[in-house]
Symmetry: C2
Subunit: 357 residues, 2 copies
């Protein structure tokens, strides 16, 4: 089997955490004889600086030619003033869209070793294990028309379009129902169908699909209530499915409930299950280059990639176990540090995981 | 001075909490010789049942003729299947829009007596006092075109339009900057300007306005990060200003941080400061009629109304003090109950506040 992985290290802390993740992947590649071939490509600010655009054609063709993509993070204040169509984020959005990576799986899991790091009371979050399934290539992120125009009275207006068609709703719905079947059997679809027509159709299609998944219990919740319920009693959720914008907001809130967003991997999948794997956190330009970044979310993203796209389950298990081991040893980067544990930098953390393998 | 108040008791628990709030208002009206004249009107599901539409003309003209509006809550599953344009929520949205109540002030305050009720650790939320300023008559809630249409390939698509013009942004910006001046001097504007053009203009206008308020420190945050920061370290915020949809989500999350959304009042104001006052919570149809609802948020909304729209500051102070007194006495409705306190029903809570006056 071919195992071609495209690595995109991006901006900010991206290159640092990529270095550590490669250390770990090189160990398992050799140890489990996986035969992974790595290639690299530019996206976001780094691509803009080198080529003048945030998503070069070469990056896309390399991605199309790979079995999986491992991505760090992009963006930063350095590119605040480039035109709207040149922004690093635009490159990421074009990339997701061109590869049709419509299904974003964002788990929020509380690591027992890090229970203290949460801002919530232990009894509210202990054992937390939610999966947010976010639609990633539609909705208001991509809807046309969009722009800033001058009105007849001379003032300007900014506008965007939020839309979903039945096909888009069905394919993300199927991914979410299937995920719920493999987990706790509960799916909560989040919308604002008391106000937004786009989500009235969303709710209707989810209802239509439910009979095909008799082992899944489907419920619906308005997005404002979902934001409250995540804070009040997050363990009531198993799988949550929602659109691109609501998913962006709720998945970040859910990740932060664990207090350790520096630990959470995510996947963006196409209809064949080919995927891009990336940490839930961003490019953290404020600490870039300082050796403070936590590489574990990207390392765990690599484990997710091994499991779901590269058919290397034993290697994935080994990486996840090694991460658990370094946490048990008490090693912590700054973001997850608490009294009585040992503060280490980015590369010491990567070394420790590689050594634990 | 004229003091005409229109009371809208709405649906679900609305009528119950309105009864208790009227008890309290009747006491202060007499005691402080305020001369408030009360009138009543229908909105939402109750209006639909009685008149066939969710916002009767009579309700609007009574509102236009009042100095302030006191509103409970609307909506419920009973009206799930009425047409989109007849939904109780539609009546509320039409009402906000017709009265140009564009400025929604939603405080999130932790009552020291209720510190235990929060799902967050005490050190994260103790002393919490945030004000969310939400734009209430624009954005995706009202943007046209909107609807569900059939595409050329025969499938349906739901669509909405998110838009803000300069005038709309400026007037909510002014309200937020002024609120920050009267509070801690910090204003955080929340947008998604790395993706949405509507919010690129929003950020630009906020920046343009900042020099007019040299005593306010303006910052910007993406909405996904804001959702995280509210969970991680909510006390970093003083005043937050954002659009209608993001404000709906973030203000509910912020309110829930306190663990006592049943305690939080809110105001929706027009450009002259005329307002509608209402609890942050909804109509809670699941407990309607059971005497379980907490009337304090609506009673505190009445206090806010006395203070800001009826020039009755002493009466407002007295009501707020009376609420503090009943909490000190240990009286609690179910939503804020904890061990060692005394569980009371809706009317006993209203009686206690009236007695404490
Ligand atoms: C960087 C940004 C465009 C992106 C998004 O909003 O999708 C990020 O917040 C994410 O969630 O991956
Ligand atoms: C009932 C609903 C239309 C309303 C809104 O979304 O504005 C409510 O959630 C609120 O926040 O007042």
């Amino acid at each position: 089997m071919s195992r071609k992985v495209l690595v995109i290290s991006g901006d900010g802390i991206g290159p640092e955490i990529t270095t550590e993740t490669r250390k770990v992947l090189d160990v398992v590649n050799a140890r489990f004889d996986l035969g992974i071939e790595f290639d690299e490509a530019l996206l976001g600010g780094a691509a803009l600086d080198a080529t003048g655009i945030p998503m070069p054609d070469e990056t896309l063709s390399k991605a199309q030619d790979s079995d999986a993509i491992l991505f760090a993070a992009i963006g930063g204040p350095k590119w605040d003033d480039v035109g709207r169509d040149l922004r690093p984020e635009k490159g990421l959005l074009q990339f997701r869209s061109a590869l049709e990576l419509f299904g974003n799986l964002r788990p929020a899991i509380l690591y027992p070793q890090l229970a203290d790091a949460s801002s919530l009371k232990p009894e509210v979050v202990s054992g937390l294990d939610i999966l947010i399934v976010r639609e990633l290539t539609g909705g208001i992120y991509f809807g046309e028309p969009r722009g800033i125009r001058t009105l007849e009275n001379g003032e300007r207006e900014g506008y965007n379009t939020y839309k979903y068609n039945e096909t888009e709703i069905r394919r993300i719905g199927a991914m979410a129902f299937e995920a719920a079947q493999k987990r706790g059997g509960k799916l909560c679809s989040v919308d604002k169908s008391n106000v937004l027509e786009a989500t009235i159709l969303w709710r209707e299609i989810m209802e239509q699909m439910a009979p095909d998944y008799p082992d899944v219990e489907l419920s619906h919740m308005y997005v404002d209530n979902a934001a409250m319920q995540l804070v009040r009693a997050p363990k009531q959720f198993d799988v949550v499915v929602t659109g691109n914008m609501f998913g962006d907001i709720l998945s970040d809130a859910a990740a932060m409930l664990t207090g350790s967003i520096g630990m959470l991997p995510s996947a963006a999948l196409d209809k064949n299950g080919r995927g891009m794997y990336e940490p839930c956190h961003g490019s953290a330009p404020d600490i870039a280059g300082e050796g403070k970044a936590n590489p574990l979310a990207m390392i765990l993203s690599a484990a997710m990639m091994l499991r779901y796209s590269l058919d290397a389950v034993a290697a994935a298990d080994a990486v996840e176990k090694a991460v658990g081991d370094v946490l048990d040893q008490g090693l912590r980067t700054g973001d997850i540090y608490s009294e009585g544990t040992q503060l280490v930098n980015t590369s010491a953390m990567g070394d420790a995981v590689a050594a634990a393998l």
